[in-house]
């Protein structure tokens, strides 16, 4: 202070500076003990929540790897399932069935779900009551138990109007209906998050509504849309109950195809193996869990990579 060339070091300024310093130090000394205690408590509760989630996930991974590692080899993936010879049994048909069914789900759910979201957000006049009704129904559908969709599939897809029979395509359709609300809701949120100024800017340049949506709104909404698709696909991969109703058999040795023949999926096959008395089958079931986790992880990683490519910052 005394060496400061700008502020003269008179008695009055020194007193003023000392007063200001004292006030600041007092104010900055920190909150009372009670405030600090509540912040610490809050923080520890948050950490507890995070660790519960992480530990559960870690427990599943560790348990499945430890239990199933003995059977984790190429033979398991390439061999057909067998009830008589546990050492020869594999997941080939179930894996192919899963890939077919989930592939069908993606092919159905992406255009229909994104299209429905675009319609609801961009074209539907929200003042009309029937549009509000549609919105409400979609949100409710997201909470319907999956077995209900299984019954729906049995009545309308396997038998009834579509009469596809107990084939993989029927499983795809059923699961697509199950996860469609999730995709629609996520896509709608993503499209809604695109600022209106972007749309106005595009329209003011003489773009049609469709051009604006296709070239500006949808690319900007891609990260959110892809998140919704990730969630939908992960759920579809792991569903067993509705598929049991639409014909996923627990045992087939023939490679599946979309429109004819029996099919199975990984979760259903795992369910079959885990019910068998022999201990080797249980190990095999856990190995199947690892394979399923790996499949979901691979699909999610691809979608996350896609999402990062579209990531924008406002």
């Amino acid at each position: 202070m005394t060496a400061d060339p700008i502020i003269p070091s008179t008695g009055r300024t020194r007193l003023a500076a000392a007063g200001a310093r004292a006030v600041t130090e007092e104010a900055l000394r920190g909150g009372q003990t009670r405030d600090r205690l509540t912040s610490a408590l809050f923080l520890s509760m948050l950490l507890l929540g995070v660790s519960v989630a992480l530990l559960s996930l870690a427990a599943i991974l560790v348990w499945s790897i430890v239990e199933g590692a003995p059977r984790l080899d190429l033979k398991m993936i390439t061999n057909a399932p067998s009830t008589l010879r546990p050492h020869e049994a594999g997941f080939r048909t179930a894996l192919l069935g899963s890939l077919l069914v989930v592939g069908g789900v993606i092919a159905l759910v992406v255009p229909v779900g994104v299209g429905a979201a675009v319609y609801l957000e961009e074209y539907a006049n929200r003042g009309r009551w029937w549009n509000r009704l549609i919105e409400l129904n979609i949100q409710n559908l997201a909470g319907v138990p999956s077995i209900v969709f299984g019954i729906l599939g049995l009545a309308f897809i396997v038998r009834g109007p579509l009469s596809l029979g107990f084939v993989a395509a029927a499983g795809s359709l059923t699961l697509a209906l199950l996860v469609l609300p999730t995709v629609i809701i996520a896509a709608r949120e993503a499209i809604r998050a695109v600022p209106p100024s972007i749309r106005e800017g595009a329209l003011a340049l003489g773009a049609t509504r469709w051009q604006t949506i296709r070239r500006q709104v949808l690319p900007a909404a891609m990260p959110g849309v892809l998140t919704g698709i990730i969630l939908a696909v992960a759920r579809a991969t792991g569903e067993a109950a509705p598929l049991l109703l639409v014909g996923a058999v627990t045992f087939t040795t023939v490679n599946p195809s979309l429109f004819d023949g029996a099919y199975s999926t990984l979760p259903v096959q795992i369910f079959n193996y885990s019910n068998r008395p022999q201990a080797e089958f249980r190990v095999l079931a856990v190995a199947g869990v690892i394979v399923m986790l790996g499949l979901v992880l691979a699909m999610n990683s691809f979608a996350v990579w896609l999402r990062n490519r579209f990531e924008q910052s406002w």
Binding site: S197, E200, A204, L205, G206, A207, R215, Q312, W314
Partner: protein, 291 residues
Amino acid sequence: MNVELRERVGSAEHESQRGVALRLMSDTQSPDRAPDEREAVFDLAGVSCYYGSFRAVKDVTLDIGRNSITAIIGPSGTGKSTLLRAFNRMNDLIPTARLEGTIRYHGIDLYGRSVDAVEVRRRIGMVFQKPNPFPKSIYENVAFGPRVGGMKGNLDEIVEGSLRRAALWDEVKDKLKTSGLALSGGQQQRLCIARAIAVSPDVILMDEPCSALDPVATLRIEQLMMELKENYTIIIVTHNMQQAARVSEETVFLTMDEDRAGYLVERGPTAQIFTNPVNRLTEDYVSGRFG
């Protein structure tokens, strides 16, 4: 700009509409317009803009001349932006908005049955208050308009020409592929102007283009406007009266009536509006007594 105060004797007119001196066109025109047009670019007759049952703008009648800068001034909430957006049918985007009266653009009723709003917007562009570049590269921003409009020609040349005319080329020529959002506010606004120019419009509407910018950027955009008026007709809404006085040749003054509808009080050459307005309300506003 100094405003001379004068004692007014007698009552001012409530609505003083001035006849417009039609500007005869200059030689600088883009080649795809008919060469011999002498009428005003816009001709408004009894235009009222409604949002549902609320009337935002009441009975506006005026003309806009070619290759000029017209400023619309007035206090907040008087429907200036609503009126501006009516010129390129941007109000159509609001479901409850509707228009009464006629707006003629080169003699054609803009809101006629056979008129496509998309075609209108290709000829009447708009720059918004807050710069809104697309979250894409600078090149893609400028190229968007020509692409969706199906314009023929070398896209690189169109982009470069637009950026040059918007006085932005030198600053961005070696980073055309970087994001438009990484530019400063003033640069973003010039990018939006370049984007609007790229579709070769006839008219550029500007809704308070400089209100989100600092004084230096504002000055650059005003200089840009003076250059642009050689080739385009510009209508600008502004709160900044000094800006209106600096750049515009014609000024339109709107204010709010008791029913909260904006109406046209006075219009005329800028110099006259600011130094010798006819209407008392105009004089009060430009001399800062209210608004």
